[in-house]
Structure formats: structure tokens, C-alpha cells
């Protein structure tokens, strides 16, 4: 599991995963706008999201329900979702 479990650390790690999975250029985890709409702006579709969700599930040892995908519209919302899941587990 990633070391940093505070919201900023999760945001950075989610951005890192998205950049890596989508092979995004000209952007780093530090410059990635966590409020950017991943569908409307970045063009992510449900298959991209499923791929990213698999990595996140593996890294954070959580379950991401497919029905929740529509809620995961930005990096911040994904990070908050992970934070909630981690808190619920404790």
C-alpha cells in the first residue's frame, strides 16, 4: 500500500497512476489538476476507469464497485472515495 494515506498523498498517487496508465505526456503528479473532469476533459471512458480502478484496488487493498464509477469524475473525488474506504476498513 502507498505510504501516504492523507488526502494530498492519495491525490498525488492517483494522479501518478492515471498518468502512467494513460501514458499522459506533458504532465506530472504535481501539475495534474485534481479538479479536472476526467471524462469531459481528459476523455477517459469506462474501460480506462476500470483499468485504473483495478490498479487502485490492488494498491490500496480496497474494493471499488463498478456502480460507483460514475461518481469518480475527478482525481480529488477518487482520492476522497479511497479515503472513505480506508476509514471504513479501520
Amino acid at each position: 500500500m502507498p505510504e501516504s494515506k492523507d488526502i494530498q498523498g492519495i491525490i498525488r498517487h492517483v494522479a501518478e497512476i492515471i498518468i502512467g496508465e494513460l501514458k499522459l505526456e506533458d504532465v506530472t503528479p504535481d501539475t495534474f489538476n485534481p479538479e479536472m473532469d476526467l471524462v469531459d476533459e481528459l476523455g477517459i471512458d469506462s474501460m480506462d476507469l476500470a483499468t485504473i480502478a483495478l490498479v487502485l484496488q490492488d494498491e490500496y487493498k480496497i474494493v471499488i464497485d463498478e456502480d460507483d464509477y460514475p461518481k469518480l469524475k475527478t482525481v480529488r473525488l477518487i482520492a476522497e472515495y479511497i479515503e472513505e474506504k480506508l476509514a471504513a476498513r479501520q
Binding site: L22, L24, E25, D26, V27, M36, V39, D40, E41, L42, G43, I44, D45, S46, M47, D48, A50, P70
Partner: protein, 331 residues
Amino acid sequence: MKTVSTLLDAEWRERYRRISSLNIRSSIYDLTCRCNLRCKGCFFFSSGEHHVQEEMDIRKWEAFIDGEKARGVNLAILIGGEPTLCMDRLEAFYRRIPTYCATNGLIKVPRDRFPDMMVGISLWGGGEDEKILRGRDTFAVSSKNYEGDPYTYYLYTLTPRQVGKTEPVIRRIADCGLKVHLQLLSNDEGVDGFSWRPEELSDLRFELDEMLDRYPRTVISSKYYHEVITTGMMQGRRFGWRECPSVTESLDTRQPPVRRLIHFYRWGADLQTVHRCCTSATRDCATCKDGAAHMSWIMVNKRDHMTSTKDLQNWIEVYEMFAKLYRLIPW
């Protein structure tokens, strides 16, 4: 980093947003193994996929459809055989899930029972080709049955013999107040004179572009779609098994995973058998010209089209074409 905002102006962004929220989950269902035609080149009968024990109990169909809805399917595409031979099953789908019925048009779907169900009528070339391949000129019957119907379009399967002859067919469709979408015959049964040569495909591409320009209110299509179906190429990649998105999920063992339609299945009429893909397992994917498969191929590869403004606009036009065919957005 390229984003929708950096690639598109306000008008195109609005078009993009209109379709990006659709979240379509389609599957295909063989409604019956029977048909009132026997066409040369029909993948269903030439592949032997009709050899299943058709489920006859309507209650089992209803329970099955409820299960499909629970599985997340929000667009049921009904094929066969001829779906209109089984109106009770057709209605069971229509009452539960947004439904599209692919028919040869010989039997009219009663609009009092199915007021807004999308109907696609198969048309194989002009009258002479239809007689050779299907045994009769079905257009003469189907155009009377569906004249002016706002929820019906022709799915015009083009053959090599149609090159240079599409205009009269499209004009006849326009004259009876219907729309038309275009795809290419794959000639699964190797009928003489119906296999494509490269120069025919090249000529056809420009002919289809011309038809779209001349009949923009009748032809539901896009020039990028014409390019992809006639060349088999998209963004430098060739269509085939390693690329096709329309493979039944439980049979899709491809590694690494291929970009595909989420949770797509094609079910047999016994409600148990699943078929490989949206056409037949006997078809060579390298020569498959299925229009829906090529359209979906483009649609599932959105981010590969976020390379330039023109590429993303092409992608949007194809997605809009798909959405129009199922009236998810207005014609």
C-alpha cells in the same frame, strides 16, 4: 497535455459532452432461429449458429431479460433469424429495455404495440442484388410497410456490384421518407462476384462520401466511418481479432486485454448459448467488414483520437452516428 478543451471549440465541446454522458451497455440477442428468407451470405445460417434449441417459454424469456437488465444492459439489439416472427419476445424486450429490432421488413412491426421501438431494415443492394442474394426484392415490400416511419431506417449492406449504383437506392429511400445507414457485405459464403477488391473499396469510399454530401438528411453516416470500413484501418492499426471490440465478454481470452464493449454478450435463442461476437465465429476477422463492429472499434478508442482536433472531431461524428441510429440523440 491534450484535453477536450485544448482540442475543441465551444460548439464541438458541447457536442462531445452530449454524447460522453450516454454510457451505453449493449448486447445482442438472437430472438429466434427461424427466418422467412434464406439469404446467401447471411452469417447466422452459414455459420450454423442457428442450431440451438430455441426457448419457447415466454416466461423464461421475460426472466432472462430481467436478468439482462439487472446486469446493466441498457440497449438490447435483437437479431435472428427474423425477430418479427416472435412478436411476444419482441414485446418482452421492448417493455423492459430500450430495444432495437433488426428485420428484413417483410412483416410490419405494429406501431400500436411498439410506438417508438427502433427498427433497422436490412437491404442488400439494389433490386437485382437482392434477388440474387435473398431470392426477392424485399425493398418493394419493406418500403410500403414502413414509409415515413420516424423510428425506422434502412441498413444498406453494400456489395461490390453496387459500386457506382448507390444513388438510385438512396434516392428511393429518401423518397419514402426514411433514413439509411451503410455497411459492407462480408460475403461469408463466397458468392461469386461479391468479394471486395481494393480498388472497389477505394471507389466506394468516395461514392459514400458523395452520397452523404448529397443526402445529408437521409444518410446517417460520417466520412471517417467510410474511411475506416473501406480501408479496415484506424489510426495506423488494422481491424482484426486483436482489435475487435464486439466479442462476448465470457469468451474473450485475449491477452493483453483489448479495448472492448463493456459487458457485451451475444446470446443464442436458447438463452444459454453465447456466440463469439456480433457476427459469426466462422467469419475470418481479417476480412470482416461488419459496420457495427467497425463503428464500435472507433468508439472504444476515444483517447487514441485525442491526438488532434480533426481526429477528435472524427471520433465525435462516429459516436453521434451511433447515437442517432438508436435515437439516443435526435436525427
